[in-house]
């Protein structure tokens, strides 16, 4: 891929419709994010070399740009993303794609804790496992995990969908609101107010669509639906208030 290497602290000379290349071994994340926020012009593609676990790579992007992160990302990669399509060709640190509202984030390796936390929209795909608290407090994002998710996943999840092709850890969907979780493998335990419900035709269609978008090959008929019992929605004055 022919790219234009961007010199540190320079105004970025991207070729029209071309690719900008940032090398984080020589350039700062601040320069990269400044370019992504203010200097994209008509750049269609950005490659980030040697990410080496740096924090906050490509946070706050609001443009229909394709971003390839060629290695492992640290905390908060692709946070608050709008419209951009990011691929992390490695593992992601804590809180990847947190607060995303649209676009697509694809983690080719595994994702650390709190993947897709509090995100309003867009699609997060994790090819490997996602660690604890995947989709915590999510508000509309779709998350598809090729592997398993850790304990407390979908904790207080308000809206959106999670598809888990592997297993789920303890306390899945604790204090769940209206988000729905689909799990193919074993569920170690449900959190408070979460339970398994029968799959409907709409659920099979939803799972099939999400798997297709994530490019995973599984039979939707193998998935279970987990949703809220809604018993925590209203205060129960008759319950023993013991702690």
């Amino acid at each position: 891929m022919a790219g234009v290497t961007v010199a540190r602290r320079s105004i970025v000379p991207t070729a029209q419709g071309g690719t900008a290349v940032f090398d984080l071994a020589r350039q700062s994340v601040r320069d990269l994010n400044d370019f992504l926020h203010h200097k994209l012009g008509d750049t269609k593609k950005v490659r980030v070399l040697n990410p080496d676990g740096a924090h906050a790579i490509a946070v706050g992007v609001d443009a229909p740009v394709e971003i390839d992160i060629e290695g492992h990302a640290g905390y908060f990669a692709a946070g608050m993303n709008k419209r951009a399509r990011l691929t992390i060709h490695g593992n992601a640190g804590p809180a990847v794609a947190e607060g995303m509202s649209s676009g697509r984030v694809h983690v080719k390796g595994f994702a650390s804790v709190s993947a897709g936390a509090a995100a309003h929209g867009g699609l997060l795909v994790v090819d490997g496992d996602a660690s604890l608290r995947c989709g915590i407090s999510m508000k509309g994002i779709d998350i598809v995990v090729g592997g398993s998710v850790g304990t407390y996943s979908a904790f207080m999840a308000q809206a959106g969908r999670i598809v888990v092709c592997g297993d789920a850890g303890d306390a899945l969907g604790d204090s769940l609101y209206e988000a729905v979780i689909y799990v193919k493998g074993k569920i170690k335990s449900f959190g408070a107010d979460a339970h398994e419900e029968p799959m409907t035709d709409a659920d099979y269609t939803a799972v099939a669509e999400l798997l297709k978008e994530a490019r995973f090959d599984h039979d939707p008929r193998g998935f279970k639906r987990v949703a809220s019992m809604r018993s925590l929605y209203n205060w129960n004055a008759d319950a023993k208030q013991e702690y």
């Binding site: 640290g74 905390y75 640190g93 650390s112 660690s131 604890l132 850790g150 304990t151």
Partner: protein, 298 residues
């Protein structure tokens, strides 16, 4: 917040490069722990009756030559001293309890940081790069090491409060997180005659685990009891004469990542301080799972 680093070289040829490989790991965790740093390195064990004591003299001038002379006269055994700034490693054939007591009684200003046949320990306040330079970390040799960068959250910033903590012989522990019951652990151990050097929460975990092992538990059994008794947030990395061990609490809020190749096992709070290691791009990488024990033997 704190940073932890650990390295165990499987390839014996890499033992001479242990310090050189580790310094960028430690310095890479500066943002997680800029106030103090420490390093325990495990070398080839001394003969069965010999011990080494890592000694720390604090900020002031210290007459190490005078100390060595008096120690040789008083302790009546083989004794040698290797001095590095305000730190020295004393090797001796004298009974370690006796040697330690003598240091404590005659030189109360000296701190005994570690005792064992294999462990050397350095810790001090300051930025990790400064501490590494002060004690020549890049020249350290050995089979495995445990390091820490500290951002204090619950007790004072002093050399004694820096990690690693030690208890007994050839055992050390570093901690990222905070314990919520260190004082109840302490109230349990002190009546058994276990002495604490500081009011730091990590010291309680270190002394608890060493106490369990002295009572006959192996490392894994001790850690299992630790899961039951130690409450709070933690990623612990521990070193013994021939092992590195890593555990995380049930919530796993404190990060850790492991990179393993044919040549080494490297552990850090974050990948960014492993990124320089040879062959790391093709290493097997994983995040340790909550309440699972990871133990690597030399």
């Amino acid at each position: 917040m704190c940073g932890i680093v650990g390295l165990l070289v499987k390839n014996p040829r890499m033992r001479d490069r242990l310090g050189e490989m580790m310094v960028p790991m430690l310095v890479g965790m500066t943002e997680r722990g800029p106030d103090s740093a420490g390093m325990a390195v495990f070398t080839k064990p001394l003969a069965a009756k010999h011990r080494k004591l890592s000694l720390y003299a604090g900020d002031g001038e210290f007459d190490w030559a005078g100390f060595e002379k008096k120690a040789k006269q008083a302790l009546k055994g083989e004794l040698s001293l290797a001095v590095q700034a305000n730190h020295a490693v004393m090797e001796t054939s004298v009974d370690p309890v006796k040697a330690r007591q003598w240091v404590h009684d005659r030189y109360p200003e000296l701190h005994v940081l570690s005792v064992g046949r294999s462990i050397d320990l350095y810790k001090d306040t300051g930025m990790p790069a400064e501490v590494a330079k002060r004690y020549g970390f890049e020249k350290l040799r050995g089979s495995h090491l445990v390091g820490h960068t500290r951002m204090a959250t619950e007790s004072a910033v002093t050399p004694a409060h820096a990690h690693p903590f030690t208890a007994g012989e050839d055992f050390c522990l570093v901690h990222n997180g905070s314990l919520s019951n260190p004082f109840s652990i302490r109230r349990k151990l002190e009546p058994l005659g276990i002495h604490f050097d500081t009011d730091n929460d990590t010291e309680a975990a270190c002394r608890f685990l060493e106490w369990r092992m002295r009572e006959g538990d192996d490392l894994k059994a001790a850690l299992q009891k630790g899961f039951q008794e130690l409450d709070g947030f933690y990623t612990f990395l521990m070193g013994t004469r021939d092992e590195l061990a890593l555990v995380r609490d049930a919530f796993s809020c404190k990060p850790a990542v492991v990179a393993e190749t044919d040549d080494y096992v490297a552990i850090s709070s974050e990948f960014r301080s492993l990124a320089h290691l040879p062959g790391v791009k093709h290493a097997s990488l994983f995040e340790p799972k909550p309440e699972e024990m990871y133990v690597w033997r030399v």
